[in-house]
Structures are given as C-alpha cells and as structure tokens.
Symmetry: D2
Subunit: 338 residues, 4 copies
C-alpha cells in the first residue's frame, strides 16, 4: 500500500503512520521527496487490509494499492528518477556512464593497461571480475582475493571507481571492502539471500537481469535490495534467452522504455554478454543509448585474443575508442552527454 502524505506533513504524523503499520506487523519504507512524503506499507497480506486503516490518520492525503508485484522499485512509490552516486560519478542523470574493462582480472599488467585505455577513451568506471561464476567446475574461476587487491590498487592509481561481481553471501563483506560497486550476476538475480545481504550492506549495486527473468521479476528482485534500505540500485539489461542463436542472448531493447515507465531506478546495458561476439557490440551499444539507457557495461581487453575468459566478446582498445566516439554522437542526439 502507498500512503501519500499532505504537503507540510509533520514528523509526528509520519510517525503515526509508521506506528500503525508496525502494530499490524507490517514493514515501512519512506520516500522523502522534495515536495512530498510517500510511505510504502509492506507485507505479505496487505491485500486483505482496508486502506481506511491509514486513510483516517492525520496528514494522510491518499492511500492506494500497488497492483504490481514490485513495490519499492515502482514509479508509484517514487515518481522521480533515482540517481546512484559512486565516488563522484552519478548514474541516472544526464550523463551516460560507461563502465568498461576486462571480463576477468588476469594480472596487474593487464588491468593497468585496460584501465589506461578505458579511462582515456572516456569511461567513468573500471570493471573487472575477480570471482567468475563458470558453467563448468573445471574452468578458470577467477583470481578471487588477489583479483580484488589488484582492482583496489589500480583504482587508487587511476582514481576511477571499480565494479566487480560477488557470487556468495560469504564474500559480500570482503568484496565490498575493495569494490565501489557490487555486481549481482544474471544467474544470481533470484539468489535472495545474497540480495538481502547486499541490501543490508547498503553499497551501490548493479543487478543484472536473469536470463529468463521477466521485467516484473527483475524489479521484484530489486525490491529485496530496496527493502533493506539500500537505495543505491542500478539495473542492468544483458539479454534474455530465446531460440535465436546468432548472438549468445537476445538483448531485450524494449525493456529500457518499459523500465523507464514502470520504475525510478537507473538502467544500464551490457552489450558484450548479450552479443557474445565483439562485432555485434557497437550496434547494440548505440541502440541502448538511443533507447534511453543510463549507461553501458562493456568488456574491453588490451589483447582480446589472449584473454582467459570471453575474449571473443571483448573489444580491443582501438575498437573501444572508436565506439566511444560514436556513442558520444548518439548521446547528444538524445539530449545527453557522455
């Protein structure tokens, strides 16, 4: 249930609504907008309660139900766009944010080289995987803690925030010590204990869409993060599984306007994992910006042919530099910067 408070509402009136909810065993989340306070009343059985319970309280303007499965991620709860701030970089504002770097951190030389390239070309955030969830147990699983240390070192050297994936609740504490943004991978989108753990941690997080998740399920997964009070949530479209096999996944370009309509959360696109082939990355990246995405997550490797993981989908430094120029043009044509 969504309780919209009157303009000029007092702290006592807000508190009364919260107390009423708690007395009914319900949770509460506040959206303190610049000119309006909205309170979400949360629980498994709010559907059975009368809205009058809250409508009669002083300071309440209106009470309505959110018919969608997701509540906190919805525009009904928060009508303005959310902006996520990471060390001075804002995701969800006018500027398109590009996060680029290698799929897996391999060694210091590779990461330094990648950081140099992507920063020069205009990327704002460095990506690199330390923990790699691999389909087979016999494949390279990432440098793990050593990879995190390298990321932190290169971040300090280049003054660029870093994003890396976390794959287990055990590692949230450790990874968040080194990284500026945690990434939840597609296969973990509905790993609810992991989401809850990251939600409690409160750090910026990129939530990738599950490869067969509907947009509604994806936003409902975001509610797991938001429900713990973590509002630093960025969504990432990375393609869905369909029958088509010319690309690794089918990037669902329509999800961008759908999310912009239904949610206040910023959304970025990962063309590299969707495509599975570097030659398809530029077209998808351009399309994403044209469709309204707030940023991109792109794989760039100093030497794609020697990459330990996903070399085929990584851009070379020169391809990336060229793409950034194209993207800048597209960004401007839709009234944004890059």
């Amino acid at each position: 249930m969504i309780v919209e408070m009157r303009k000029g509402v007092t702290a006592e009136e807000i508190d009364a609504v919260k107390q009423r909810a708690k007395s009914l065993g319900l949770g509460v989340q506040l959206n303190l907008g610049t000119d309006k306070v909205v309170i979400a009343i949360l629980g498994g059985n709010t559907g059975q309660l009368s809205t009058d319970i809250f409508a009669v309280l002083p300071g309440v303007e209106s009470v309505s139900r959110i018919m969608k499965p997701y509540k906190l991620a919805s525009r009904e709860f928060r009508s303005q766009d959310s902006i996520v701030s990471i060390g001075g970089v804002e995701v969800g504002g006018k500027k398109i944010v590009v996060m680029a770097g290698p799929c897996a951190v391999e060694n210091e030389e590779q990461l330094v080289e990648a950081a140099k390239v992507v920063k020069e070309a205009g990327a704002s955030i460095l990506r690199g995987g330390a923990y790699k969830p691999r389909t087979s147990p016999f494949a390279f699983q990432g440098l793990q803690k050593v990879g995190l240390e390298l990321l932190a070192k290169v971040r300090d050297q280049f003054k660029v925030p870093v994003i890396t994936e976390v794959v287990d609740t055990h590692d949230v504490q450790l990874v968040s010590k080194y990284a500026d943004i945690l990434q939840v991978g597609a296969r973990n989108m509905q790993n609810f204990t992991l989401l809850t753990e990251i939600g409690m941690k409160g750090c910026p997080v990129v939530l990738k869409r599950g490869l067969s998740a509907t947009v509604a399920e994806w936003l409902t997964a975001a509610d797991y993060l938001l429900a713990e009070g973590n509002h630093q949530v960025i969504l990432c479209e990375r393609g869905i599984r369909t029958f088509e096999t010319t690309a690794r996944f089918s990037l669902d370009i329509t999800s961008i306007p759908v999310i912009k309509k239904s949610s206040h959360l910023p959304v970025v696109v990962d063309p590299s994992h969707a495509a599975g082939h570097f030659a398809l990355v530029p077209a998808i990246a351009r399309a994403a910006i044209a469709a309204g995405a707030d940023g991109l997550l792109i794989e760039v490797h100093p030497n794609p042919k020697e990459a330990l993981v996903d070399g085929l989908q990584s851009l070379s430094p020169s391809d990336f530099t060229r793409l950034m120029k194209e993207l800048r043009q597209i960004a401007e044509s839709v009234g944004r910067t890059l």
Copy 2:
C-alpha cells in the same frame, strides 16, 4: 556453390558456366557487379559435387561453397549492399526510409488524413492494410479490394508509394496491380508458395520475420523470392516471441548487425507490432536507427482511439511528428539522413 569469374570475363565464358550447371540439373543466378561477375550454382545436392567441375572452365577465378543454408541472400553471393528502388524512393542507401500509416484502411477520409500527416512529417511511403490476417475468423478482416482501390487513389493524390500486405497466392496479381510494395506478414514468412508467386511477379517486397524464425530461416525464406529472380527484397524485423510479456513481442535489435554482416539485403524495423503499445514505439524506433536499420514501418492513425484494428499501438499525428524529429537527430549521428 559460388563461382567468381575473372575480371574482363566474356559473355561466352559466363554462358559456358550456365550451360554446365544446366547439364547437371542445377539452377543458376547471376550477380553482375560493377567489377566482378558472381554466379551462384543452386540445387539440393550441390554439396556432393566437386568444385572442380566449374573451376576448370575458362574465365573462372575461384569456386567456393556457401556453408550457410541461405545462398542468394548471403554476402558471399553479393558483397555490396543491395538497394531497392520504389518509384524514386531508395531503401538501403544513405537515407533512412520511413513507411507510415494506419494498420488497416478503414475509409477514404481516414486514409487521406493519415497520408497528409505522415507525408508532412517526412515519411516516404504510405502503409495501410487491405487484407488483414486476424487470429479469429470473427474479427474484422479488412476492406480487401475496396481497400486496395482507396490506397491507389490516395497514392495518386499524394504522390507517395504505398505498401500493403498480401495473404494468399490468389491475390498476388490483384494486389500488385494497386500497390508499389507487397508485404509478406510474419505468419506467412514460410508460406513458400506465396513467396514463389511473389518472386515470379518481380515487384518490391517487404518480408517480415516470422515470430519464431531464426535469422537463418528468415534469410533462407528470402532465397525463395531471390531464386525466382526478384531482387527487390527488403527484410523487416518485427520482434520475436519470447517469455516476456510487457511488450507484445521482443524486438531482436541484434538481428540488425547480424543481417548487415551476413546479408546484402536492406532491413527495416517495425516497432509498432513489436511493442503493441504506442508508448514504447519511439524508444524502439530510435534504437533501430542507431543499430543500423535502413528504415522503419510505423503505424500512425489520425485518431488511434477509434481505430478498428491495433489502435493501442498506433501513434497519433502529433506523436509521430515529434518522433520524426528525434529520428532525424539519430540518423545524423550515425551518418545518415531522414
């Protein structure tokens, strides 16, 4: 098999290759490029023949096999982009071509109004359905012959080529008398007798992708048109069927760069049928141009709320005019015009 002839090949040498093929019961298609002649040798069992059969003939430079299921639609057969000309309008060149108009022709007033709006806003071709393939036999099936006559009348009045769908082999003759471009709908993409009939007719045709067709199947369906000597073929991506339900179909944006890599045929995008909702159309349309599409097929209705068919996905005149301005910006940012 693809037989590339030497520069300066003579008509006799070309003829000898054709004769050799015929003597083996095989078909032949020529691509007379500006500086090279390519001959496709076609048949069900060319895989069992030795390439030497043709390699030894005079004037032959090289013989190779096309490993893909599609042959004539492939870049191997024709490396330059094909351009389709319709009464002065070129699809596949620098200029992005917009085909717009109502889903179904309803009456003269509606069609005239639509033609005025879309032409003023910059569309080059008028679309309108006379034969409507409807899921249920009890739904409005289109004005049929009366619709065709209205289309022809409005075309002459506004000097704008028209495109309309043909749904049965019986109607090809009639529809091609009235329309400048025939459209093969998604549900007929593998109606091979219809394709063969249109192929023999030789008129410009837009081949929509089947809602569960792979890109390879789509291009192989185009081969049915090309095999009859009809080279006026335009592909149209209109979304594929997936598990996601927020839009009617999932527009496969990646198919654009895939086709540009694998085929010489121009490709346009239909954001209206993919979206199923007017609010999603502009973002998809912008993305299509950014990804490299050669044009768009957009539903515009003078009064969407009163449309007999698909009103929800039709743009109003003012929405369409606004979108055209946005598209012009995107087109310029990728080095094209609109």
Copy 3:
C-alpha cells in the same frame, strides 16, 4: 455468445434465434447434441450486444458469453468429446489411432513397403508427404501430383486411409480428391485463407500447432475451419520452439491435458518432428498416450538411412513394431486400446 435452448425446443424456436442473429449481421453455428441444442452467435462485435436480445426469445434457456478467443473449438460450445470418422477409423474415441509412414513419398516401392510394415504393426492410417514445404528453395520439394497418385494407389491396395499435407489454397481441390485426411503443417497454422478453403471443403483435417503458437491461438485457428461448418478437425501437437537444442522442438506435453479441458476436439501427437531424432521418439510417444492423446503421427521409413527427407527422425520397421507393442501396454494402462 452461446445460446442454450430448452429441452424439447422446436425447429421454429431454433429458427427464430438464427433469424434474429442474421438480422443483426451475425453468424450462427449449431451444436445439435443428443439432449440439448446449443447455438453459437458469432461476429466481431458480439461483446457490445446485450445477451437479452436472445434471452427473451421462446425456447431459450440461457445466454452466456465465451470469454476465450476461440468459440467453436471450446468446451462451452460443445461439452462432449468430438469424434472424427475417416473411412471407418474413429479419432477421439476409446481406440488410440496411429498414423504412420514416410515423411515424403519417394516411389511406389518405398510406399508399398512402408504401408505393409505400418499396417502389420497396427497403424490405422498411412501418412506420406507429396508436397513438402522446405526451408530452402533448393531442397527436394516432394513428388507433388505423382506422390498423390501413389498414395491413392497404395490406399486402395491396402485398404487404409491416407493423410497428406496441403500447402496452398490452389491445391485443396486436388489433394482432397486423393487423400482421406488433409494435413495443415505447423508453418501454415495461421494461413487463414488456406484454413477457410479447407473449412469449406468439409473433409477431415489434421491441424498442426504452429511452432510458436499458444494453445489459445491454435484453437482459434481451428475456429477458422469450424466456422465454415467443417467439424472433422483433429489437432496435432508437434513441439514448440524454445531455447533447448537437444531435440529439434520441445514437445509441450502439458498441451494435451490443457486441450482436453478447454476443447472438445481430438488431439494427436507427432513425436517424430518434435524429436528430430529416432532415438527420442519412443519415449515421447509413450508419454503422449499416458498424458491422454487420442493418437500419434509417426514417421516410419523402410530404410531410414536412404530417406530423401528427415531420415534421422524416422523409425525403422523393427523399431516401429517394437514401439507399437509398448504403446499397446500404455494404452491399456490408461483404459484405452490400440
């Protein structure tokens, strides 16, 4: 709208309902059950009409709306199971009907051999393709008229009804002269002009499910046949297109109980096209009978390794004979015969 008439209704009362419908420009279909007459009132805009228009007429017991897109194929229109009779063979009754034979008719010897094998093993109907809709125009397209003649000859010799595919409205007249059952292939499920033509013809028809058609769309396509007064309609599940690639299509076993619940039409299963590989056929065939299917459509070739089309998915005579024994056991375990 569904108008249920009172027990003992007179011909005049029925006629009055029909006249009322016609005066409103609506279509009518009668279901003359043993103890009840049901009249379907059909048209694009029955949703806007009041049910009172018919409820007030004499002899009318009740008037209700069918909320599903399909009307005549629904259990609401006809609550008892429909049985389709083909030269003494009944599909939809207690006996499971097996239709077996080669994918394509190749020559007389092959067809005679196949007919002998499948009849001896207990199949009731011989299948064989004369017109083959092939993905590529350069593949073998079937023997066409010659194939039809062979089918008719072998039918007379073995006293077994034959089923064959029809791919174009032009051919309906010809094919129905030779075959006992027409088959509409998956790619033509929504070829509405073809359905209408076969509907008018009135002969038994097997309607295959489109490879990305929902059950609702499939039943609505059946309405095109039923609306022309052809009630000899058999549905055929043959797998849907999904991301899984170990089989050619994913047989949707759940569609069997779904159809039994929602429709009165008999449904058979084609395990051969679904599997794409002979080794998977027996398990799917057994599952289909266990799930409640009324029959099977199985590819059997005297010598699968030399088949011109789809050899890999054809059973050898000995495999088919063994499978029939297994199926007989399953049929008995669900209270049916084979």
Copy 4:
C-alpha cells in the same frame, strides 16, 4: 579426458595415473565399476594436452576426450545407471520413487496429516519446504529452523526420509543435519558456491533444472556436485520457461530420454511446479513415468484451499491417492514398480 584401465589393473597402476595428473595440476575422479576402472582427468585446459601423456602408462587401455561440457555426469565416465540410496529407498532402480508433501511446512498438524496421506498412498519420501525462496521479499519466507525441526520430528514418527530445499551456503550444515535429501531449487541451479558446499557435504541431493537451463548446462551444474566427490545426485525436471502461458512452465518431457542417453544420473519429474494447477498434474505425472523418469516430486496438501503457498498446484489427499493408482498401472506397463 577419460582414461579407461585394463581389466585386472593394479592399485599401483591406478595410482600412477593419479600422480601423473596431479603433477600436471589436474584433478582426478575415479569410477570403480564392477569390471572396469575409469579415471576422469579434470581441468580447464585438458583440451591442450596430448592423450599420450596417459596412454603410455602401464595398465591404461584407452584414453579419450569427452567433447561435451559435462564430464562426470556423462555416460562416457560411467556407463551404468547410478543409483542413489536414501535410508533404504533407492532412486534410479526398478522401483519408481514418489516424493510427496506440502510446498511449505506450515505447522505440525498439517505436516503430520500430509505424511499420513502420502505414506498410505505409497509415497516413499516426504517433501516439505522450510526455506522458501519467494519472488517478492514481502511474501511468506517459510518457517525456516522451526520447519526443519518439524520435518525431522515427523520423519522419525513415520519412518520416512524427508527432502527439503536449501537456499544458501550458510544453511547447508544446518539443513543437512535435519533432512535426508537436500534440494537445490531451479533458481539456484547455477549458484556454484552452493553446489560446491553441498558437494563437499556429500549428502543426497536433488538438483532441479533451472528454468532456462539447457540440458547440457544442467548436467554441467551436476558436475559441480560430482567434482567434490558427492555421487548422490538426482536430477529433477520441473519445466522450462517458454512463451506458452496455460501452464506455469512447459515441462520438457523430451529431457527424460535425452538424459537417459547422455547421463548415468537418475532423473525425477516435478509436475506440480511445471503445471501450476492441480488439474494438469496427473497427466504430466503419468507422462513422466511413461517417458522413463525414475520418480516424481509432487505437492500434496491436506487442505489445498488453505495452503499458505502454491495451494492451486497442490493435490488433495483423495486426488493424490487416485493418481498413485494410475501411476502404478503406468509403471507396470513400462516394466517397473511403484
């Protein structure tokens, strides 16, 4: 790589192969068959090694590569069917094993009642969820530890093994203390840290197929369990996500024969989650046994209408008892018992 040892191989010879592998940084898994020893050599880059490295060692009969992504789950590693033993109940043998009970443990009365019903009807294992991974954070999440205690209590009372889901690495220790079989849910199929943890624990585990996982990915996920030396692995098909919406998921019946061909692991089917509706469960359950499944996982609730979770897909006691009789018939018709 698969190293097959000669008949009568000595322990020293086996050890030499293991040592050779370790010296190259590779892992090793043994399959000690009754008349043959097979050694799997495991690692990310075995593809680059020559098979001769092992072929020259004494006692080695042959060395081959497994071209599939899964190794330990493949028939190449182990040709005989694996049988998993749980407190006297064998899964993968002649007897079909039914695991039944409520979706979620709600209270002792409900669980006792369910246990009584399912045991009397012939189920061998009691299922019940204590940890419920729910799409929304505001839905009932299960009784958790209290639920586990109830399960253990009822197990002791009815002398029936219990299966319950584990959703996080943190809980593996606790859940395995109470349950006889751990269940990994569809959304966790590629939660690799969870799989590794359970693999190390060594207890029986049911691995559900991810809702968009290919069969190959599913078997490769099983390799995560097997690689830790846990051979008590049962697969569970529970439907995949497709465009069809009449059932919650599309049960992939073909996966049963595919797995029987490619893997030695037993496979069971969950018709309840696939269907999402109790009326569809019996047909799917019958089909599963007919297709060759080794067991079923069925939701049964003493009073489905009052279930806290998934009541619509739960069978009532009388429906379950009736279904078990049908299944017994099917089991016999395919040469098995139940």
